[in-house]
Symmetry: C2
Subunit: 456 residues, 2 copies
């Protein structure tokens, strides 16, 4: 039984030594129990030359699996120096059509042609060219062409023989798809039914017709939603007239689901692109700067607003003490409210009607939070501060800011969703900045009024 692989520093050092000394057999022996995903993880521990050397030692099947497991950046770095012929024959020939199309799709036009020309299996090359035509973010871009296809007019016996023949190309058999003579998808047939019925039974009679399918142009996110909702491990893909052209397996969709959930978090954190720590400094800077610039613009607006109250600030400098508190609370509440809405929209648990009801509820939650927190800060200021005007101002402003921020945080994502704009865009820096500014304004207006009342 294979167990999880642990990469110790000693192991890595021994492996590097074996590679550097050209001890191919020793190196291969060290990783003989590794799954392709484990070998791919070695990439970040070895130098580019070392991993290239090691991966070229592997047999074609395993080498192509490792290539599929690498990150896109790593893979490009790796393939860059290899001639198209080597890529085609060492790697692509062994891959499923969808993995091959993903990898070739990332290449330059020139390299793409070079690789395609050197694929020995004409059918495989044709499949890849077909797949390259689909949008990356559609069912066509996710699907593989390999699947088990049987005719509804066959008997179970013919079907079993055909399955054995076709299974050679398919890694895992999840469903057997049934088509008519015109390749129109009619349904699936389960192994169970085949085992339970007589060998001369026609497939047509044991067919399950009531199945979900998607079209080649169905967006990836919708494919993920359907598969998640109906708990499917594979879904057939048909063209515009219902002909079976491929299938999508859940492992490819898990990536879509994870990426979608992560993108919301990224946007809420003010990153406009998927970046990770290993990306280039320039890439990370570029992903971060836009939101920061908006934040800077918000800060300047805040300065302009406070500038209008210079007189009050000169007379009552203690008012400035609570500016950070008011700004921060508005931001925090706004982010909380919007996160609840954005996640509800993303995982489809939120119904988008009854907007007023939602706002009403959020109003009550915010008022409750606001009153509790205002009472706390009232107590603090009542004990610590000499100025009763300040004490009242901070508490009154806090309640207003929290309620306002909660309304904005709820309404903006709902509004964007209705306008078909990704609501996650609104969360994070944008809502924070907006609430900062309005919060400051409310604070200063309330303060000026109350000071005038208590001290004028």
């Amino acid at each position: 039984m294979a167990s999880q692989v642990e990469l110790t520093r000693d192991f890595i050092n021994d492996l590097r030594n074996a590679i550097r000394n050209g001890e191919d057999k020793v190196a291969l022996k060290m990783i003989e129990d590794f799954h392709a995903a484990d070998i791919a993880e070695l990439y970040s521990d070895l130098s580019l030359e070392e991993s290239r050397y090691l991966f070229m030692l592997l047999d074609g099947e395993l080498a192509s699996d490792v290539l599929t497991e690498l990150d896109q950046d790593e893979r490009e770095e790796f393939l860059e120096v290899l001639p198209g012929e080597v890529i085609a024959q060492k790697f692509i020939d062994y891959m499923d059509s969808d993995d091959a199309a993903d990898i070739i799709g990332d290449m330059s036009e020139e390299k793409k042609q070079e690789v395609l020309l050197h694929i020995d299996d004409v059918e495989q090359a044709g499949d890849i060219v077909d797949l390259l035509a689909y949008d990356e973010d559609s069912a066509g871009g996710l699907m593989a062409k390999e699947l088990i296809r049987v005719n509804e007019n066959w008997t179970i016996l013919t079907c079993l023989k055909e399955m054995a023949r076709q299974a050679d190309d398919v890694d895992e058999v999840y469903y057997v798809y049934v088509v008519d003579d015109g390749n129109i998808l009619k349904g699936i047939v389960s192994l169970k039914e085949m085992l339970l019925n007589n060998n001369s039974t026609r497939i047509r009679t044991i067919l399950e017709e009531d199945i979900q399918s998607v079209r080649t142009d169905t967006p990836s996110e919708e494919v993920a939603q359907i598969m998640e909702k109906y708990d499917m491990v594979a879904i057939p893909v048909v063209d515009s007239i219902g002909r079976l052209v491929g299938r999508i397996t859940i492992d490819d969709v898990v990536d879509v689901i994870r990426e979608e959930a992560e993108r919301d978090y990224q946007m809420a954190s003010g990153l406009i692109d998927e970046v990770d720590e290993s990306d280039k400094i320039f890439t990370i800077t570029r992903a971060r700067l836009p939101w920061l610039t908006i934040g800077l613009g918000g800060g300047i607006l805040g300065a302009l607003i406070l500038g209008q109250f210079e007189g009050s600030l000169r007379l009552y400098p203690e008012m400035a003490f609570f500016i950070p508190l008011i700004a921060a609370m508005g931001g925090n509440v706004g982010i909380q409210s919007s996160a609840i809405i954005v996640q509800g929209l993303a995982n489809k648990t939120l119904r988008t009607d009854r907007t007023w009801q939602k706002l009403g509820k959020e109003f009550i939650v915010a008022l409750l939070n606001g009153i509790l927190l205002a009472a706390l800060i009232f107590l603090y200021n009542f004990i610590v501060s000499d100025s009763f005007a300040l004490t009242i101002t901070v508490s009154a402003a806090l309640v207003s800011v929290i309620v306002f921020a909660a309304m904005v945080g709820t309404l903006i994502p709902l509004l964007l969703h209705r306008l078909d704009i990704d609501p996650a865009l609104a969360t994070g820096p944008f809502i924070t900045t907006m609430n900062d500014i309005v919060g400051l304004f409310l604070y200063m207006i309330i303060g000026r009024g109350l000071y005038a009342y208590f001290q004028g």
Copy 2:
């Protein structure tokens, strides 16, 4: 072929009328093409009484599927009024053991006993009791007992017959698990191998031994990582001595993956519990208040710090204008930095060694961002403001705050991870609050110094 179901307002009204008038056949006819997941979605459109009426009309198989698809809150509301006997015989009898255990596990002790006593199938009741003993967040809590199990000493023919018999209990056959006489998991056997070999071949000879498995006490998140890494649709679960006790399918793990990704976003947004918009006002308030209270504490600290600089603020009230900008930028940068680290840790793309190298890189990114933004605000103040001291102060403070916030945002999650505390805890309000306070302090210190230099 089933297509996606669209719930129009008219459809819902017609359905409600049919239910209210007791037209059972009309109502059932309306939803005859619905998948269980579609029927479960009706729950939020109907009143509690209406959905209860409708669901009780369904046959046992479908009704139990619908119950599995409901949210936990909806399900509890729904089952509350039903006697244990009805729950056991109308629903639980038809369920897979893992779904049944999930549902019964959520019930009160009393109700649990009542339901368990009324399950007719003794084997099923035993399986459920076994499963209830496992931690919800472990492989044991995720697994189902239903699977196809064959003996390594059987021939392919015996095996096919046994599969047909066992398949009756199992919804989907993904893998056929092979055990020895002591029920120790030996590997899997693929359909392909069975089809390609002679019927009298022993399973032992076509067995694939090199497979991944998990133990009942493996944490859910680790199960998800293994299945995602190795692209598996089902994984066998063994006990501490290697006996096969169950299997986990990918659809249950997809939920774990999504919840994990969502939890990071929630924490970063300052929500301490999984809440959605439909939760009770009290639940939502309770999830939000803790972080807001911390934010309030941070605001008070900020006020205390600014209080130390009352003299400067009285002399140069324009310094107050840029307090929100400095605080906001520190917060934004800190969130960005920590989000990159938290996501990298969550999806395992981040290596946790080379901390100094990471900090060095983050330092350069922050310095780059800081200098660019400081140049922008310098330009603005140089044109708009009369005070050169202010112009220099804001820009110098901005660079310091951005660099400091980036270091904190990078270091804290890495530190928490090393201490085995969920790093997502640190993001959002906590890091924002901390950066706010330190940012204010830096701003005022730099300001006092520069004003003294330029105007003193």
